[in-house]
Symmetry: C2
């Protein structure tokens, strides 16, 4: 039975796009509850400037107040050396750095050319050297909403540059939901062959409905780490109304049905997912929290007694 | 390149659960528009009693007014001999009969034991003999929301009984979204081996988010016919708020990306899907109609000029 490790990103990637500030208390309670569900990692927050992402302006306080559960890694997004200093002080277990494999997407999302991003992130890696493990999330690996196709060689070239710097892991992100399953299989195989020593995580969005099909394609290729967002929270600035990140509980539910061992307690996770609409003030895309697990059976309707006696 | 044949069920299975009557004109216009998109079949309506499904009380009128396009089969749901007579008069190209492989689900959904359903449908097959091809949709083939697991042998046993009656096709329905991909692969393989001469269609729901992963599992097993509902319209009485049928355009979009030849014109289909929220008065689950196809690129935001010049 293949073991799958799950990384929950709802309080960072999920909340980041929400218009209404989620109170610090709620974030802390949510991370604490999620910590008891079997996640390998939780991406708690981001040490970006409060101005650029007001939702995560309480990064220090959240990191300071959560109750850390042994065995769970608490990772944070770090955009630059200043953010790394704050993250270091907050005793994050991992720094997650981000840049895009598409020049246009990097210019749009990070407001600088890829080379400038790489230089800034290289400084963070140097600063953290030895003290904190580094993960690099590469955006738009399966396509850029403005450029279109991102060649596989481009993804591998950027992965190579970070591998050379000695990072521990790479997250391959389908930032705007452009990946399709056979493309996922091909890229995963290429990355596994080239980087056998790196922790490889796949990050999918469900923008075009293929999120779980892509998860399965990667898992069957042997990928054992996935990002997911509780309730499927998150979104895509290029597709108003469309789904964002894949839904953690839906992905976990499918992987368990397929016989993978996720280490997750769905029975504990689903009630937490069901609190999300109240927390964010709107419905969320996740399905299993609404429908229950495959094996959560429904009672027979009472009229069946009459139907049965009619035909007895 | 494997050819996939698509069957659109939105005006029957999709509308059936909607609370507000969709005007006959709208139904006719919708079927006419869908007829130009490349579908192999369209399930137009149901010849059930107007009392049991008021939404489809205009079955005769809709069938009489649609403009039939050569090459498209116009199929209708037929519950019994009385319905078959009406369907025959309406010159339906195919009768689609329904019963459940789960005793409890059949009692709940059709208000009679499976043996009684079978006897009634056998009469319909006899009546249609030679004149109209028959398809049988078997419900709850991947699980019953009340009984749980439906053994594969049970599905095959019912399929056998209908095959013996000389039906042309079988639709294997995951009525409440309980199927998972490896289960789909196993059942499809068993059915293909046993019924090589039958037209085999798979009907999935996205109730637990696995709809498209299940489509892909079946297609990779060689299944070449799928039901889908425009916009993912439809629902599940056992899971309020959860998705219903798989979304036709999302499934077609994925299959095209995977290299299957669907014969569908997505460029014509997406604008029709985008009219659905107005027709039914609420948002629908489909994603591609909101996000666009993978290759529908977005323009660069205007601020990129400034970003570029800053780093020039």
């Amino acid at each position: 039975m293949q073991r799958i490790f799950f990384n929950e990103v709802v309080t960072r990637d999920g909340f980041q796009i929400e218009p209404e500030f989620v109170p610090t208390d709620t974030k802390v309670e949510l991370v604490n509850a999620l910590s008891l569900c079997g996640y390998a990692k939780i991406e708690v927050t981001s040490f970006t400037s409060a101005k650029s992402i007001p939702m995560l302006r309480d990064a220090e306080e959240v990191m300071g107040r959560i109750q850390r559960v042994p065995g769970v890694e608490y990772t944070v997004l770090v955009p630059n050396v200043r953010g790394a200093e704050r993250a270091m002080e907050s005793k994050a277990d991992e720094f997650n750095l981000v840049m895009s494999t598409s020049e246009t997407h990097n210019l749009a999302n990070l407001r600088m050319p890829r080379e400038n991003s790489f230089a800034a992130l290289k400084d963070v890696v140097a600063m953290a050297a030895g003290a904190v493990p580094i993960n690099v999330s590469l955006s738009a690996c399966f396509g850029c909403p403005m450029e279109g196709v991102v060649p596989q060689e481009e993804v591998i070239a950027w992965a190579d540059r970070f591998a050379t710097l000695g990072v521990r892991g790479l997250t391959i992100c389908d930032t705007t939901g452009m990946a399709y399953p056979s493309q996922v299989s091909r890229l995963c195989e290429a990355l596994q062959t080239r980087f056998p020593g790196l922790q490889l995580t796949l990050h999918f969005h469900n923008t075009r409905g293929m999120g779980l099909a892509n998860v399965l394609a990667a898992a069957r290729q042997g990928v054992d780490r996935f990002d997911g967002s509780l309730g499927g929270l998150g979104g895509c600035p290029y597709a108003p109304g469309a789904s964002g990140n894949i839904c953690s509980e839906d992905a976990i539910h499918m992987l368990e049905a397929e016989g993978y061992q996720t280490g997750m307690e769905l029975a504990a996770l689903l009630p937490i997912a069901r609190q999300l609409p109240e927390i964010v003030g709107h419905q969320v895309p996740g399905q299993v929290a609404k429908a229950g697990r495959i094996l959560d059976l429904h009672p027979e309707p009472s009229f069946l007694l009459d139907v049965r006696s009619k035909f007895a």
